[in-house]
Subunit: 286 residues, 2 copies
């Protein structure tokens, strides 16, 4: 968890293979790439990035990792551009966790959408969930929004519902760690709760994510592994039992649309986007 | 906020009047009782307790406050007894914030329900929301449940929805600060979010509260004042803007039933319970 955000995990996974190749050979190298692939069980695109680097000749590992990094920045730019039309000229929006430059290596996914709309002249005000237990929203999202000049207000996670009811929230945008074929989406713990509240209030709920986050091999979210993390992140008394899932799965039917580098995707998703190739040349732009 | 929990606020409000009468006379005394009445704008029964003490001769203020305290303990016992039938022989339940002995001066309201069911031989396991920003669930509820011998697990607030989805939650029980005639209920921030998630999962959502919490003068929750508290409770960076409502209002239609000292109440609530008298003799038991 030293690296957060699925896109950043992709970049670090790719560079990790290149680095491992400089330090290990033979069995030790393959063991190292396996450890990298399995480091975060919920993020599908980590294994994708590792496989993609391994598919080129060893002397090109570093160049391939750099290419993935450059592509991720371009993907963020395209996601932000696609999102602009979804927002009104002015109004309040809401997000959960962190999906900005720190998480993606580019402008961000969900946060990149807000930043792109802000640059396009839309007067958005972002309500940011603090995102317990690790407070990525309070520590990172608020910082990045202020850096980008986007007006923002911090709330505790459990205030999201009353904020929707009383602050006229126009849209919710979050990121994703893994998306199944039916749209079921694993993302930071609390995303599911926000999605239920958005549906209850009739507020559009968007997931901003690159194509590499979609895992069409999974029919639905019931098979997405959920990482459970240490009780120490939450508990106060030493003998407290804690249930601390790092992610939850939001059913696809609660998601209004996905915002990707290919534009706004609505169901059925697997007919809307190109197949995921090991080396998706279509991601490389001039 | 040094005193939390609507029932505890009643007790402290009643003793507060008796104490103020020993320290002040005339205008200063009335100013003091006014300050006590207005100390927590969301809790309706604070003003009720102050009025009730003021209605007796001054030399009986302390005895009246002690009577209110004894009645509150009895009310808790009745609420717990009424709740037992609502729970299965064994299973998981969920609560938000703190409603135990520390909050009520008795066995508690929502927590008193779990404790009563546990003593009646029902094998309940309580999932307790930590309840940001002040962490009453992590600091108090977990402590009180362990003291009472009730098995319990701590979760972050935003994990309530996935816990409902994956841990087969049989019922949610929370307390209340103020209940309008149509059942709209003001309670600790996050209650509304939990109620929406419970409804989404088809899980019964109960509010355990004494009769004194009902405010039939209010047609609905839109007129319940919501206390907004200091940004310092939430923010990390000094320049962060924060929206920090201490309470939210859960619409009555999301509430399965109320658990009171008169038993299980379903709509229309104002026909189900006796009128609130200034001095409700019917609360006094042998």
């Amino acid at each position: 968890l030293a690296v957060l955000g699925a896109p950043a995990i992709v970049i670090f996974g790719a560079y990790g293979v290149a680095l491992a190749a400089q330090q290990h050979t033979g069995e030790a190298f393959f063991a190292a790439t396996h450890r990298i692939s399995e480091a975060r069980p919920t993020a599908v695109n980590l294994a994708w990035a590792v496989q993609r680097v391994l598919a080129v000749p060893a002397e090109h590992y570093l160049a391939e990792a750099q290419a993935i990094h450059a592509e991720q920045r371009d993907v963020d730019r395209r996601i932000g551009a696609a999102a602009i039309e979804l927002f009104p000229a002015h109004g309040n929006v809401l997000t959960h966790c962190n999906t900005g430059p720190i998480a993606t290596g580019g402008d961000g996914t969900a946060l990149g959408c807000f930043i792109a709309a802000h640059r396009a002249g839309k007067a958005l005000h972002v309500f940011a969930d603090e995102t317990r237990p690790l407070l990525q929203g309070a520590r990172l999202t608020m910082f990045e929004l202020r850096e980008a000049g986007v007006p923002c207000t911090l709330i505790v996670d459990s205030a999201a519902a009353i904020t929707m009811a009383r602050k006229d929230i126009k849209a919710v945008v979050v990121g994703a760690d893994r998306i199944a074929r039916n749209g079921d989406t694993a993302n930071k713990i609390g995303t599911y709760s926000v999605a239920i509240s958005a549906a209850h209030h009739g507020i559009p709920f968007y997931v901003a994510a690159p194509r590499s986050t979609f895992d069409f091999a999974l029919a639905d979210g019931s098979h997405i592994p959920i990482e459970e993390r240490a009780a120490d992140e939450v508990r106060i008394a030493p003998d407290d039992a804690v249930y601390n899932p790092a992610f939850d799965v939001t059913p696809g039917h609660l998601i209004t649309a996905f915002i990707t580098e290919y534009g706004i995707l609505r169901p059925p998703y697997h007919e809307s986007v190109p197949d995921l190739e090991t080396r998706p040349r279509f991601l490389v732009t001039a």
